[in-house]
Symmetry: C3
Subunit: 151 residues, 3 copies
């Protein structure tokens, strides 16, 4: 699959923007009909260990997860801000981009929440690029608090 760069940049920009705006239905629309979404500590991945923090192996499971996160969000009220670096295509044809996520709590304090790397298999659906297999490699195994929003 030939991937147009501007479409690639737009896909990642929209990905972060839609989470930060809590527009989760549109965010789900960035995934292919058949899709996976995994959050794995980088250390596990580098060692070939399969243990994931979150593992949604179908779109239905991902949709369910998002519903659950919305519930959790009522008790851990915060806003997110994604900073996503320039995406590139790696040697395996996967789209990679580093990210940092900041969270702001109800007192107005903003903190670094997590950093990591997206390593994603994409799929062309009509004119649009979609996530077929989203792998989120987290730099830490120690998540500072409840994962109340998607990364």
């Amino acid at each position: 699959m030939k991937i147009d760069r501007i479409s690639l940049y737009d896909l990642f920009a929209e990905y972060g923007s839609l989470i930060d705006a809590s527009r989760y239905d549109e965010w789900l629309g960035l995934f292919a009909g058949e899709c996976r979404y995994r959050i794995v500590p980088r250390e596990n991945f580098d060692r070939g260990l399969p243990a994931a923090l979150i593992f949604c192996d179908s779109r239905a499971v991902l949709e369910d997860r998002i519903r659950a996160l919305r519930e959790a969000n009522k008790y851990n009220i915060h806003t997110d801000r994604h900073l996503i670096g320039l995406p590139r295509l790696n040697d395996e044809g996967l789209a990679e981009a580093p990210f940092a996520v900041y969270q702001t709590d109800q007192e107005g304090e903003t903190r670094l929440f997590a950093t990591g790397l997206y390593r994603d298999r994409l799929e062309a659906v009509g004119k649009h690029l979609k996530f077929r297999d989203k792998l989120i490699l987290l730099d830490t195994f120690a998540i500072p608090s409840l994962l109340a929003t998607p990364l």
Copy 2:
């Protein structure tokens, strides 16, 4: 207005770069002749509240503000570093980009200062894109210290 992507990326890259280099006159040159510059807490914006932290509704007011900031800077000496994510065009034709601003003080300590989202109306002036209406949605209402440089 059709917006070329590379020009869009360059505009945002220059925007951050010129602030960080304290080149405020050239930074003002990125704005259209008639322009607005607003900093609004995201919470206020989401609730439809108009209260802004900074509201410059003309170029003259913005120029004046910059002069004042330069004075303030003599008493709050620091350097800025803007990290701006990939800009995208939203459904309303506005240019959006997330940002994080870091400040380094005279002791050499670097801290996260603020995160937020630019949501800007652009204008083509000759061959150049300029900011017609710059809206800075800050993730927090609690600015940690004096706003001594533009965001």
Copy 3:
């Protein structure tokens, strides 16, 4: 030299990505045969002071430095994450991009390590862009700990 934007973006994306993945040999491959690599506190640079934190004035010295860093890394075990902003070409034809580097330690804690600006002279080597003279302007003179990986 005319610089294609996507190639420019890819060069910086690979630069950060290869450090973060500890793929230092491939990272060295992003530099031209004759090259320089310097880390200079921004304050020194702005005042015209030549003092560098790290100064590799040839490829051999850079390769040597990388070997030494790998040794040091055995005693300061951490992982890096580079967030690099949109690169642009400045008035002098140099490629500039702001960056933030985060480090995660063995306890799983992620911290901001450094922010700064890349200001690089590039060279076309065949179809590839390479770093001819990499200047890393660090926002702080106070590096929080041993520089155990390249910035």
